[in-house]
């Protein structure tokens, strides 16, 4: 493991290597080297399984951190590859030629965070949100409560009753709530 990480540090300039637990290590790599690193890990280091792709919005730093979680079935070890990209005009190299499910993740990230992946199939098709006209909803600045109040309007909550009093009034008006 250490030999591999040393080599990757030399060849791809990886940084922030952190062992989260014996079966999971995370590291950071530049945007420009990320696709080559992931391809290398898949083809030479046997990290053949893409668990998922996701994104973390660090709005306070003005960046999105893309996370590629890879798994090596021989070593039963996971590698979380972190790639920072700017929030403004966010764009990342597509990995849809490496795994068949990658384009779906990229399509979701385009819709939920507004990150573009040039060349990725169907990336601009709606994924979950048909006809969405707001900012991408997984961005931290998207306020779900404000959106729902504006879109659907305010509705008073249900009027609650004390069950026994309600029974007296509605169900047993002639018996004063005494059902005997």
């Amino acid at each position: 493991m250490n030999d591999m990480l040393d080599r990757l540090q030399r060849d791809f300039g990886i940084s922030d290597i952190t062992e989260r637990k014996p079966t999971l290590t995370t590291l950071k790599v530049d945007k420009d080297s990320a696709e080559r690193l992931i391809r290398e890990l898949r083809d030479r280091e046997n990290y053949t399984h893409l668990n998922f792709m996701t994104c973390i919005d660090y709005i306070e730093d003005g960046i999105f951190t893309l996370v590629y979680m890879l798994h090596n079935y021989d070593k039963q070890h996971g590698l979380g590859i972190h790639v920072d990209i700017g929030r403004e005009n966010a764009e990342m190299t597509s990995i849809h030629t490496l795994w068949a499910q990658a384009w779906t993740y990229q399509r979701e990230l385009r819709e939920m965070y507004g990150i573009s992946f040039p060349g990725s199939p169907r990336v601009n098709d709606d994924f979950c949100l048909e006809g969405w006209d707001q900012i991408p909803p997984m961005r931290r600045e998207f306020d779900t409560k404000k959106f729902s109040q504006e879109r659907f309007g305010h509705r008073e909550g249900r009027h609650s009753e004390v069950p026994r009093d309600q029974m007296k009034v509605e169900l047993y008006p002639n018996r004063g709530g005494d059902e005997k």
Binding site: R20, K21, T23, L24, T26, R42, D43, T48, H49, L50, N51, F52, T54, I56, D57, V67, M69, Y73, D74, Q76, G78, G80, H96, T97, W99, A100, Q101, W103, T104, Y105, P121, R122, D126, F127, C128, L129, E130, P137, M138, R140, F142, T144
Partner: protein, 394 residues
């Protein structure tokens, strides 16, 4: 490690061309566009398939989701850690327990909380009961997709018996909210073990009957054998996991590969098949359902009957989880189910990503396998992949 994993082609070969099919000229009058779902008895949950047909033959398939999107991952970023635990179980209706467990496991890992041994066993039993209930529902769905409506009546009745056990154990039938950070909410009620054993005995007999009625049925065999075959070289490039992968001989099961909870103390083997077609996948799941019964009995035998079932916890109303990052996973009925969690030291989670096997099984895999098949087989094909839309949209 399976010998197949060594042979898997991870390159970009012609057999694994991920390119999207070219759109056809619908105005030519040669093709028909047909939507299967979202409201259709032959669809798994609320999703739809946009099919392009040349006669009866599917020449293009596109999966559409979004009918169930409730934004759980976003909701979780705005709720405290204890509030989230009532949300996660709603992500997957037929298997809420896996969400409860994985959310709790991620929080515990980041907080350094040790779960008492009794809770570990109760969690294991709870997960296996969930697997049993889910498989029973799936067997019914698979049988129904091929026109046999007797088996679904049996399996749903027995699933209800399992839900009775859940009600006794947790107080709820569907959304149990039983596995909480730090342990479980309660021990077992008096007499639970006897009632659970009686239901396991009945379920075992039921599975024998299902094997005779469903798996020896000539119509089911004729229609499902050779349908939607997944070759081993598709496994890694398409991210196929669970029974869909095991049915073609890939011996991967997180309960064995990276044991969690009490699985290392349980006696079981990873069940594999040889040719992952719809029949093989179905038969493998039947065998795994039998295995569930065995695992539940083992849990009943070995689980401690006394001792704490909840660790000492901080005041959950002011609970801050240290900054960190983890990915925890478990083997659900469909394969690897995972929670990726990032915390920043506050009372709120920074990011949660829920990873479900259907994300690839229902989209990339389904779209590839459907092409060239008959429209009449699309429902059976989809059920044989065991897809759940809620885990795609989260």
């Amino acid at each position: 490690m399976t010998p197949f994993s060594k042979k898997i082609v991870t390159g970009h070969s012609s057999a694994l061309d991920f390119a999207q099919p070219e759109p056809v000229d619908l105005s030519s009058g040669k093709y028909v566009k047909l939507w299967q779902g979202p409201q259709h008895p032959g669809i798994t949950g609320n999703m739809s398939l946009e099919l392009t047909l040349d006669g009866d033959t599917i020449i293009d398939c596109k999966t559409h989701v979004g009918y169930l999107h409730r934004g759980f991952e976003k909701l979780m970023e705005r709720r405290t850690f204890i509030q989230n635990f009532t949300v996660v179980c709603r992500i997957a209706v037929p298997e809420p327990t896996f969400n409860e467990y994985l959310y709790s496991a991620a929080v515990e890992e980041l907080s350094g909380i040790e779960v008492p041994e009794r809770a570990v066993w109760l969690r294991t039993m709870n997960l296996e009961l969930m697997r049993l209930a889910s498989f029973l529902m799936w067997i019914g769905g698979m049988s129904g997709a091929f026109g046999q409506y007797t088996v679904p009546n049996w399996t749903l009745a027995y699933r209800d018996y399992v839900l009775d056990l859940f009600e006794e154990m947790t107080g709820a039938r569907i959304y149990h909210m039983y596995i909480v950070p730090g342990g479980v909410r309660a021990g077992l009620p008096d007499g639970f073990e006897e009632r659970a054993r009686a239901i396991m005995d009945g379920t075992e007999k039921l599975l024998d009957q299902i094997e005779r009625v469903m798996f020896n049925n000539i119509v089911f065999k004729a229609r499902s054998k050779g349908l939607a075959v997944i070759p081993p070289e598709m496994i890694d490039p398409y991210g196929i996991v669970g029974p869909n992968a095991r049915a073609c001989g890939v011996e991967r099961d997180l309960r064995k590969d990276e044991p969690y909870l009490a699985y290392e103390h349980l006696d079981f083997d990873v069940i594999t098949g040889s040719d992952s077609d719809a029949y093989e996948r179905a038969y493998l799941r039947l065998q795994e359902t039998r295995q569930c019964v065995s695992l539940i009995r083992q849990c009943l035998d070995k689980a401690p009957t006394d001792g704490p079932f909840q660790a000492d916890m901080p005041n959950v109303l002011h609970w801050k989880v240290p900054a960190g990052e983890t990915y925890v996973k478990a083997e659900c009925t469909r394969g690897e189910y995972g929670y990726y969690m990032v915390t920043d030291g506050t009372e709120f989670v920074r990011r949660v990503h829920v990873r479900g096997p259907s994300y690839t099984h229902a989209i990339a895999v389904m779209e590839r396998l459907a092409v060239g098949n008959n429209i009449a087989d699309i429902a059976g094909m989809m059920v044989s992949l065991h897809t759940y839309p809620p885990e795609i949209e989260r």
